[in-house]
């Protein structure tokens, strides 16, 4: 009898080093995202607003086409995808930033981080699973928004510049929008995990995306250009262009690499803080 009991108790024994249930962790993070009405609403709005603003902005540009200066017109003719995706994109990236910060900072403000760390005491897998799920969600949503924007914007622009999805670089730019969004989402999670505060985290990411980039352009000479080129968002945004612009210092993929490096660095910092500290 004792032997039987011992055998039966084996699976219940707390054993060290057993494998973590990665699929379960990913499912859990997905449940968290989809079970909050606010995040679902934000993602739907992201698509709607992106497409809406693309239509509006491209429409306005087409209406004012005669008043464009030569350089602008040339830029648009050279890379019409940049014009189409540019408008809604600026808005959607802000939504991704805010959501990314919220995904983690909310856990601190609501206290759910403690429930979570009780379930995943090693902490790092939780951060990775969260980042992975959010990246995939943002990628899919950004692609829907980008393809939707292109489908709406290209016909409006057609009277001035003809652009099709088969044109060189266009498909790459559309895919780039999703990749950029996904990495930006992870970047935002890292900021949120470091700051651990909703308002503070959002302020931080907005500073990175909206304030820092224009600020560096005020630095005179090539130093400013170089600093600007290596900022995470300005580097990453190159992915959304169908071709390398004359003023771009990096190719799209180089820019994407730079953004990924920023993200990895911040994630390492976030992870170190998460593991070291009291929750």
């Amino acid at each position: 009898m004792t032997v039987t009991v011992d055998l039966l108790t084996q699976p219940d024994q707390p054993t060290a080093g057993a494998r973590l249930d990665i699929a379960g962790l990913l499912r859990s993070e997905w449940t968290k995202i989809r079970s909050l009405r606010s995040s679902v609403t934000a993602l739907v709005l992201l698509v709607v607003v992106t497409i809406g603003f693309t239509a509006l902005f491209v429409g306005l540009t087409v209406g004012q086409w005669d008043q464009l200066d030569r350089i602008q017109e040339l830029t648009y003719r050279l890379d019409p995808t940049r014009l189409i995706l540019g408008a809604g994109f600026q808005l959607s990236q802000l939504a991704v930033c805010v959501l990314g910060v919220l995904v983690i900072a909310n856990e601190y403000s609501s206290g759910t981080i403690r429930s979570n760390l009780l379930a995943v005491p090693h902490r790092t897998p939780m951060l990775l699973a969260k980042s992975a799920v959010f990246a995939v969600v943002v990628f899919v949503v950004s692609e829907v928004a980008a393809f939707g924007a292109f489908a709406v914007g290209a016909p409006i622009l057609h009277s001035k510049v003809a652009v099709g999805i088969g044109d060189p670089g266009v498909l790459g730019a559309l895919l780039g929008a999703g990749l950029y969004g996904a990495v930006l989402g992870v970047f935002s999670i890292a900021i949120g995990a470091i700051v651990r505060h909703t308002a503070g985290g959002i302020a931080g990411i907005i500073a990175f995306v909206l304030v820092l980039a224009p600020l560096t352009q005020l630095i005179p000479g090539s130093i400013g250009d170089h600093v600007y080129a290596y900022l995470p968002t300005s580097a990453g945004q190159l992915m959304v262009n169908a071709r390398q612009g004359p003023k771009d210092l990096l190719t799209p993929w180089q820019g994407f690499g730079v953004m990924c490096l920023w993200t990895v660095a911040l994630m390492l910092l976030a992870n170190a803080l998460l593991r070291r500290g009291d929750a």
Binding site: P14, K32, N106, S115, L118, P121
Partner: protein, 335 residues
Amino acid sequence: MSCGNACVSMLLRSPSHVIEVRNLCKVYGSKVVIDVLSFTVEPGVVTGFLGPNGAGKSTTMRLIVGLDRPTSGGATIGGVRYADLPRPLRVVGALLDAGATHKGRSAFDHLLYLAQTQGISRRRVAEVLELVGLSEVAHERAGSFSLGMGQRLGLAAALLGDPQVLILDEPVNGLDPDGIMWIRKLVIELAAEGRTILISSHLMSEMAATATNLVVIGRGRLIAACTTDDFIERSSKRSVLVKSPDSSALSELISAAGGHVDTDTDGALIVHSIDAAHIGALASHAGLELHELTPQLASLEDAFMEQTHASTEFGGHNADGDRDALATTSSGARS
């Protein structure tokens, strides 16, 4: 959780889920919150965790489950550190702060995402919601819950993995009398199934009714780790209730013999410092009539007040004399 199940799970489960706290220290800045604390929590009974406000109860619990990092020392559960449990919720259920749910998420979803990290089924989620009486509001936003409902949800999360070990910090907070009775019954039942249960509360009567063993701490140090009965027994506040038609004469005799006599509102005598046998002998020698002669135990509250106070003032029953000599003389309360 029926009786049949209880008996089966008692046989199937290992009896080794002891919580062992060894030389635990936690320093925040220059403040020593937990000061070389060691104790053991045994399975099969409810262990009450007591201490004045700021004694370090919650911190100790957070250290046991790895939410806070100990400065030195540590804790194991069944010989394993919490962080090394592959699916910790299946071994240890903890209720540390019941408010730890996102207001916008439903009770069901809150438990579901926890369950998914541990390979626990949706059916079990529904089951624990039923158990804590939240089935009907399972799909309502947790933000609409009352304090008591939030507490029930926290308890559901603790019970989710059908754990062998439960660590509950003030579980009856915010519950109505029905809820308090229900938790009391539940933890006693779970302990009877052979589980290890550590439960903190500031309600002494509640602890007296629930806990077989006690761990009492003050200022981060151990004051007592013993059975509740022993703890109360230790109190010098033990007394004898005496009823007699000749109470004034008897009272003089007792005082002369070194006893300390108080009179309660009914005119009965409450005698300290000498025991019932001695009083009986005095009465019998003097030929005085006795109607009642009952040894009275101090309440847990009395014992607690006395012993936590003593500990902060004189170092209490801690064997660690050198350290205690250094203890300051102010009261044990920390804000």
